[in-house]
């Protein structure tokens, strides 16, 4: 029974992983790619690790899987944030059909002010 629930979690995680990486190919600019892949791959890998924990139980591997879930959920958004901030500072443009860019407006306003 618990093995079946674990295998369902692993299947869900692999589904989300596949579509996250497909988004890495299909989306047009860096920020959209970063969004799709970070969300999907983080949740998918967390789900795979939780399924591993359910199948293996409270052994050495299971406890390590739980710690890895906590670590990944804490660090993946941080690295996405660092990458997007660095991309915006080094001047990578948004997709040309984007609606608005408040951060760019703000920076231009500050530059004119000085």
């Amino acid at each position: 029974m618990i093995d079946t629930i674990g295998i369902i979690f692993i299947g869900l995680g692999i589904f989300f992983d596949l579509f996250g990486c497909l988004g890495l190919i299909r989306f047009p600019d860096l920020y959209n790619r970063l969004q799709a892949s970070t969300k999907c791959v983080t949740f998918g890998t967390g789900s795979i690790l939780f399924g591993t924990f359910l199948i293996v139980g409270f052994t050495a591997a299971g406890i390590k899987a739980l710690f890895t879930i906590i670590f990944i959920v804490l660090t993946a958004p941080v690295s996405a944030h660092a990458l997007s901030k660095s991309a915006h500072m080094s001047g990578i443009p948004l997709w040309q059909e984007s609606v608005c860019d408040k951060l760019e407006d703000e920076n231009r306003y500050k530059k004119n002010d000085q």
Binding site: L34, K64, I72, K85
Partner: protein, 123 residues
């Protein structure tokens, strides 16, 4: 119109690959006491397909930061691959490899993004 055609072609190719992975009669030699292990051994190939998508973006990406994004995602994906390998082979040290890979990938991504900060995007 051309976009629709490309979408149909891509989805047909993807469905054929997924069908081959899940239902093609490979010879899976190893005897296992749990029933779902052969299914999991096929499912590993789906993760490898996702890793191939990441490698495609690393090969093609127009700027350096696109490649760094793909490397970051590849690092998180490999942790899931190590976790599935832990179940299929029954050896718990694969998960140790996963933890070490996650730590290295996080530190490497932070260092690379700090390095690229403020440079022009075609360096």
């Amino acid at each position: 119109m051309k976009k629709r055609l490309r979408w149909i072609l891509g989805s047909v190719v993807l469905i054929i690959i997924l069908y081959l992975i899940l239902f093609y009669p490979f010879q899976i030699l190893i005897y296992e006491k749990l029933l779902f292990i052969p299914v999991l051994k096929r499912v590993i190939f789906i993760l490898l397909l996702s890793a191939a998508f990441c490698l495609f973006r690393i090969m093609k990406g127009p700027t350096a930061l696109d490649r760094i994004v793909a490397i970051d995602i590849l690092g998180i994906l490999i942790v899931g691959l190590c976790s599935v390998l832990t179940i299929t082979t029954g050896r718990s040290w694969y998960l140790d490899i996963g933890i070490a890979w996650a730590l290295q990938s996080f530190i490497g991504t932070i260092a690379l993004s700090k390095y690229m900060e403020g440079r022009d995007f075609d360096d």
